[in-house]
Subunit: 181 residues, 2 copies
Amino acid sequence: MHKGFVLWFTGLSGAGKSTLSEHLIRIFRERGYRVELLDGDEVRTNLSKGLGFSKEDRDTNIRRIGWVARLLARNGVIAITAAISPYKSVRNECRAMAAENCVPFVEVFANASLEAVIERDVKGLYKKALAGEIPQFTGVSDPYEPPDNPEIEVRTDRDSVETSANQILAFLADKGLIGAP
Amino acid sequence: MHKGFVLWFTGLSGAGKSTLSEHLIRIFRERGYRVELLDGDEVRTNLSKGLGFSKEDRDTNIRRIGWVARLLARNGVIAITAAISPYKSVRNECRAMAAENCVPFVEVFANASLEAVIERDVKGLYKKALAGEIPQFTGVSDPYEPPDNPEIEVRTDRDSVETSANQILAFLADKGLIGAP
């Protein structure tokens, strides 16, 4: 029905990683697929309590997500991760960790311009970050490094959730990771 | 072929949790089962770096193991945990967390007397702990709380690895969690 693989979202806060992930999960569950979502907040609660937002702590958090995602994927589960994962080097570490176990790693760049996410500001976080109330906020006071060669780039500031989701599903089906719709 | 469940070992350092786990994993892999081992050291490296051996840190470490084990088991994987997990309350938390997802939780008490593990002292840790060189060492300078009603109790100070493993396999087959040998 499907293979185990890691579907790794990366993108700014508010770029639509969670929305897209949840949309895909519904589709996968309807098809009876085994799928888990490791999103930034849930992992911070369950695996990374005590870690902050320094580069070192962020990297540690992302490595843990990568480790658990690989564990699931090598057992046939679709492991979707939806943390900002702002740094290229640690995303590539997670990719390498998956490769060690021959686990396909599909990086999805949820690309929305900073202007667009500031404009939307769904959680009101950018307003606070721009006012200096949240330190080390990705895109404002902490860097975001976009991927050079993501398997998929979706333009979440321009396209609908459905359009972006269909783009991802088409890629996965084309690679034989999931069945055709 | 098999169900997803958590096989939760608990017992003193040197009681044979890892040895028994590895023995079972070989058998399960030969049968083509999906199985993962979350052992104390591996989890401390990958999920709990920075945590120490205070009660609070130990509990956090065990909760993380419980969280990952449930994640695997609810996706059909046999998740074996082999950390000392000395405190009853947090083991029971992990049991409750599994129950939330209807994941069977099989607690295996690897029961070896303190005298026996001190006598064997495979890693030379008891010698150091008794000399006061390792603080908060379970059984010596930190408590070990045996389970009241473990699903399985194996007497690793008396029985061979094969005998104990067969006892576990028989229980699992009897409960319909794995196929008959």
